[in-house]
């Protein structure tokens, strides 16, 4: 790996920050102040982090209900996200969207759909716009293994191939869609791994390795910028918590606790941190300082959210149409 130490620490810091934000949300969720269904990203941090590290500010991302990691990795404002989760007027979506509908126009995140598969064509269309406008921007679509069941995925990929659109499809295969394992929904690997290798750059990789994700995404992004068309990257990972809400809200009995344990052992944040420590890229001092900074940042974001005003009935009828 030829990544500079600073870049590697950057990857680590982004992952750690996402993790700590998710943990804090989890730990406070039962207080019932964040009245919005949260889908936590714990265990998948390497993917958003690695992919977004390969992007520029004006590249686009499109994501799904499990979007906190994507939003933050792409540069999203933490206080605005927390305010959105607290249903405040200062939220990135002014309290109209909630946890599943984050937006951050300044960083190319034009809004998030909670319809599974719904963002895939939208991200494809953003790629079309970039191509038509002759911009060298790239559009990345994050979606789950569940979304790969949807026909819009096939239709979108066909169109992107046809037009050689600058789109990178990043499938986060975390093994589950709510309580349904991939085995009850897919028959083996997705056909796109083998089916279109002549037309499509595709790869199935360890989604818990941020450097591998970064390197693969970078290759795909460069191809896209050069006008060589779309890519499809399947990142194998795991959803360590339940589908939504906090740990205690995950129903029992649908998955083997040993499976969860095995993946906890493979935690992308801990593993990468241990590796960087072992290789001397990180030391305890940087680590502690970073943890402290992140904790302070999170405290501030939660405070901001809690102290922000709530939207009122008078706001309800705003924003249906754009002038």
């Amino acid at each position: 790996m030829s990544l500079a130490a600073a870049a590697r620490r950057g990857l680590w810091r982004t992952m750690l920050r996402i993790r700590r934000v998710q943990e804090r949300i989890e730990s406070e969720y039962l207080k019932d102040e964040m009245k919005t269904p949260v889908h936590l990203y714990i265990g998948q941090e390497a993917i958003a982090t690695g992919v977004c590290a390969a992007l520029r500010t004006d590249d686009a991302i499109n994501s799904n209900h499990r979007s906190h990691g994507h939003y933050l990795a792409k540069g999203g404002d933490l206080p605005a996200m927390m305010a959105e989760l607290f249903c405040r007027k200062t939220g990135c979506s002014k309290g109209y969207g909630g946890s599943m509908h984050l937006v951050d126009v300044a960083h190319g995140n034009m809004g998030t759909s909670a319809i599974v598969g719904g963002g895939i064509p939208i991200g494809t269309g953003q790629g079309l716009a970039f191509q038509m406008r002759k911009l060298d921007r790239v559009s990345v679509v994050f979606f789950g293994d569940g979304a790969a069941d949807e026909g819009t995925f096939y239709e979108s990929l066909n169109f992107a191939l046809l037009k050689k659109l600058p789109v990178v499809y990043v499938m986060e295969n975390n093994g589950w869609a709510v309580c349904s394992p991939t085995a009850t929904r897919h028959c083996g690997d997705n056909v796109f791994h083998k089916g279109a290798t002549d037309r499509l750059f595709s790869a199935k990789i360890d989604g818990n390795d941020p450097e591998l994700v970064f390197a693969t995404a970078q290759k795909a992004v460069e191809r896209a910028r050069r006008g060589e068309g779309p890519s499809f990257i399947e990142c194998v990972t795991y959803r360590i918590l339940g589908h939504a809400g906090c740990v205690t809200q995950d129903p029992k009995g649908y998955r083997d606790p040993a499976e969860i344990e095995a993946w906890r052992e493979r935690c992308p944040v801990c593993a990468y941190q241990a590796k960087l420590l072992a290789e001397g890229v990180l030391d305890e001092q940087v680590l502690n300082a970073t943890e402290t900074m992140i904790a302070a940042e999170i405290d501030a974001a939660f405070d901001f959210a809690r102290q922000s005003p709530l939207p009122t009935a008078a706001d309800l009828h705003q924003n249906l149409f754009c002038e």
């Binding site: 969720y29 039962l30 019932d32 009245k35 919005t36 269904p37 249903c87 405040r88 939220g91 979506s93 309290g95 109209y96 969207g97 909630g98 946890s99 599943m100 509908h101 759909s113 909670a114 319809i115 599974v116 598969g117 719904g118 569940g146 979304a147 069941d149 949807e150 026909g151 869609a177 709510v178 309580c179 349904s180 009850t184 929904r185 897919h186 939504a244 809400g245 809200q249 129903p251 029992k252 009995g253 649908y254 709530l310 939207p311 009122t312 009935a313 706001d315 309800l316 009828h317 249906l320």
Partner: protein, 368 residues
């Protein structure tokens, strides 16, 4: 989720229950030769009543099966499908890929192939991916082939509300489906009807869409143990009154009933009608009531413009104009996507107070 506590388990209101069961039972006996008179029943939840209906249908008819994303989840879709896969096997109660477009067509094909699918959707929002099969195919198949083939299937979806569900997870889309010829459209409001209408829908040889509401799932009501059907297309009077007719659907029946009870104290006697089926609609029942009261308030959980309240108002002004003594009032959700924040939700959703205000205005001619 913790904020589901905002709607705790409750008993159904005491809908002059004689009347309710009386007329439901009479309707069954009259409209459906196969159904039996039912005992008084036990008090169980709406979800349990639905589960019992499915379980009995699966027992009675080997061609019935239940499909849908998550129907075998441990949570059992609020309990409505709980453990059915254990009792009837995963061949007959199965989870599906997230592919609502094709799977709705697969349900249509299975029906054409001799089965009776029940296809559950967690939220009606996802039915928007199934519109082609529902509207272009299922609803038209019998007519388009001059009656040569039929499509006995049940689409069933449960409206989300509250909990910050937001714009894509909280839609009550009956206003769309009410426009589609060839579909039957059911919205139960009581535990008794949840069971009886589910069984009626499964028994029906046509595509039937049931739209449930999460607000109903935790209420408890009297439900006979034996299988029975409630006739599709027959409404019921939940409370009699002479001053104003209120037609309400789904959980708004309870809200309308409570508003009516309250207004009785102020000397306004409200008749509350639960149509139970929106298509076919029990027009006679509504027109007869308006003929008596001369006033009409219509309440729906969906959007106002172009929705359920529009059709019922139009039907009455077309066929019952001479009875009308006052403008028809419509109480429905504002014409906006659902916002997520709870303060906005509170401003968005309608309920007992809105119904109360609309009744007063309709009866007295002013809000006061």
């Amino acid at each position: 989720m913790p904020w589901s506590r905002i709607k705790p388990d409750t008993n159904e209101p005491d809908f002059l229950s004689q009347d309710m069961h009386g007329s439901a039972t009479r309707a069954i006996a009259a409209g459906d030769p196969d159904s039996q008179q039912c005992g008084a029943g036990r008090r169980i939840t709406y979800a349990e009543a639905t589960n019992e209906a499915l379980s009995q249908a699966l027992s009675l008819d080997p061609s019935v099966f239940v499909m849908g994303q998550g129907v075998d989840d441990p949570s059992g879709m609020f309990g409505a499908t709980r453990d059915l896969h254990k009792r009837f096997g995963r061949e007959r109660v199965f989870d599906t890929p997230l592919a609502e477009t094709a799977l709705s067509g697969i349900a249509v094909g299975a029906a054409l192939g001799g089965m009776r699918p029940v296809y559950f959707h967690n939220r009606p929002d996802f039915l928007l991916l199934a519109m082609d099969q529902l509207v272009n195919h299922a609803a038209k198949w019998h007519y388009m082939f001059g009656g040569a083939a039929s499509v006995p299937l049940v689409f069933w979806a449960c409206v989300g509300r509250g909990w910050g569900s937001a714009a894509q997870h909280s839609q009550a889309l009956q206003g769309l489906f009410m426009h589609v010829p060839g579909l039957k459209l059911i919205m139960p409001s009581t535990c008794f009807d949840a069971k009886g209408l589910m069984l009626a829908a499964i028994k029906d040889n046509n595509p039937v869409l049931i739209i449930d509401h999460r607000m109903n799932f935790k209420q408890r009501g009297l439900v006979p143990e034996e299988p029975y059907t409630v006739p599709i297309g027959k409404g019921v009077i939940r409370r009699s009154g002479r001053d104003c007719t209120v037609v309400a659907v789904s959980h708004l029946v309870t809200d309308a009933f409570l508003a009516a009870q309250d207004l009785a104290g102020e000397g306004i006697e409200v008749e509350v009608i639960d149509p139970r089926t929106l298509r076919p609609l029990d027009e006679e029942l509504i027109l007869a009531s308006v003929a008596k009261t001369g006033r009409l308030v219509i309440c729906d959980t969906g959007w106002k413009t172009g929705g359920v309240t529009a059709e019922i108002a139009a039907m009455v002004v077309e066929k019952g104009f001479s009875s009308l003594k006052a403008p028809i009032a419509r109480v429905a959700n504002p014409d906006l996507p659902t916002p997520s924040g709870y303060t906005l939700e509170q401003a968005y959703y309608i309920g007992q107070d809105d119904i109360r205000r609309a009744i007063i205005k309709t009866v007295r001619g002013s809000e006061a």
